[in-house]
Structures are given as structure tokens and as C-alpha cells.
Symmetry: C2
Subunit: 156 residues, 2 copies
Amino acid sequence: MLTTEEMCRKFRALGLKVTPQRRFIFQVLEGNPHHPSAEAVYAEVRAFIPEISLATVYNTLRELVDLGELRELNLGDGKSHYDPDLSNHQHLVCVRCHAVADVTCDIGGLTLTPEQSRGYRLLGTDVTFYGLCPACQQQADWPGQALHLWGVSPAA
Amino acid sequence: MLTTEEMCRKFRALGLKVTPQRRFIFQVLEGNPHHPSAEAVYAEVRAFIPEISLATVYNTLRELVDLGELRELNLGDGKSHYDPDLSNHQHLVCVRCHAVADVTCDIGGLTLTPEQSRGYRLLGTDVTFYGLCPACQQQADWPGQALHLWGVSPAA
DNA sequence: ATGTATGCAAAGCGTTTGCATCATG
DNA sequence: CATGATGCAAACGCTTTGCATACAT
């Protein structure tokens, strides 16, 4: 994502208005490494604008996603998470507590042959790694059955 | 997933009961290549048991997923899809109509170094390709902005 | 006979939308 | 001043759950 000031300029250039609500949302997202959910962004922005509504947060997040300034992530917990880091990186997600670590790994080898792509025009590839984070490995109460929730290929 | 008969045996062995509802759900899923949603499974099973409830379908699908007999897929359309094919394969999803093609491509090169895995115990890797299916490439009404909805690394 | 599964309906959760009001450009 | 954004609350779609009844074992 661009910096807050650059985002404000971009919004104005597109005929969109820069409200205090939007500016604070930009600010909360700028450089945010925590992959926050909409609710988490809402909570953070409320520290600055207590009256902001959750709907405004959702609307602004969607605009940023549509503008290509924000990545929407599915971490498997049923809610969308948002990542302002547009650089080529992947995510390593804890299947138990949904903690996320950024991973930079070369996925250049992942190409589809013409037979494999079946006439699809390939637009992008999502690679997500699933595992147990250090903290959750300590916990004894993990049933161990939930890997299947993730539609995942077994680890090598 | 196992065959319907094998699934019935497995359920009984686990102390779970084999009802006509469950047997038909197994049957609809067995070898099903269509990555159906819960609603789609419900529709198909209703052809055999018109009185079955959607809740029963959801409950049985979840049991199968928990038993590791069914893969739950997120195709980006907001609902879960189910895949009885447990073999190592990936999915190529149309970002416009959510059509799905199975892809078998070697992801063995996707390994994380110890520094990359940050102490996580790696359980699996999800690779999903996004693109435009042949039919949707014909449509002119595609805004082309929605790639960002997918948290995706740009195509090579 | 025991205990689990079922159907139904309601609740739950994340997200979107309608509408009157407000404020940016 | 005109258009687009806001807040609120209601609606939404998917999924889960509570409960009384029915059925598999």
C-alpha cells in the first residue's frame, strides 16, 4: 500500500473524498505487519475516532482492495484479513491459533503447462503454508484432526 | 474418500450410526469431481431423500472433513466446497465464475528453510491457481480489478 | 434400551446495504 | 453547493446449534 499521504492524493485524484475516517484507516494499515481483520482495524481506528462505524471500515477496506492497494487474505478462520504489503511473499498460518508469519520463498517453479491450464488465462498463484506455531506446539489439547480443514497437500 | 460401503463400515467402527441420509451423502460425494458446495450436495441428496435437512448435510460434511475423508476448499466465493479426492493435486479457479479445474503439478520444490519456517511445525501447503476460464475470457463485462480479491501473487 | 441422528427453526457470525444526515472538494 | 461518505440498523448468506422426536445398534 502507498503511504497515508500518497493514498489521500490517490483518492482525491480518483474523485473519492478524504475523510478523517479514511485517513485514520490508511494510517492504521500503513506498514501494518499484523494481517488485521476488519474488526481489528475497527478497534484500532476507534482509538482515534470513537464514533466511526464498522460499516465505514468495511467499505474503505473494500475500496482499497479494489484499487489493488490492499491484499485480502483468507487465513482459514472465517474472516478476511488485510495485508498492505504488496510485495511477493507468502504466508505461514498456524492451524490452531491462526497466527501468521510472512514467508518469502521462490514460487517461480510453479508454472502450469498448457495442458494443465486447460485454456484458463492464469492471473496469479496463492501459496499458503499451514503448520503449528511454536506456542501451539506446546499445548497438549490439540486434537490433531483439523489439518483437513485446510484443503491442503500433506507436508513433505 | 473411501467408497460408500467402506465409509459405512468406518462410521460403524467409530460408533457412529449409518442412516439413510448419511449413506446417500456418501454416495453423492463418492468420486464426485464437481467440488460441490453444501447446498449442492443438499440438492443432489434431496433427489433421493426429499425430507433431508440442510443441517444434516452440514453436520455430515463436517464429520467427513474431521475424519480426513473429505477436503474442504475455499474457492473465494464465500462458501465451502468439498472434494473427495484426497490425492495430491491443486485447483485452478476462475476468479469470475468460480469454475474449478483440478491440476496436478509438482510442488515438491516448495520447501521452507528453518529460518523461513520460524519454528512452525509445517503440516501442509495449499497451492491455488487463479485465472479466467475459457468461457469467462469471452465476456466483455469483466472489470479486471478483482484479482486483488484473492491475496495472490501476480502471474509470472 | 440406549444413545445418537434427525428435522426444524432460531441463532450466530462476518459482511453488505438502504437511507437519512453530514461534510468534503 | 453538489456529490459522495458517514452512522445506524436492518438485511444478507453461509453455517452452527438447541431441542424434541425418531431410529440404528
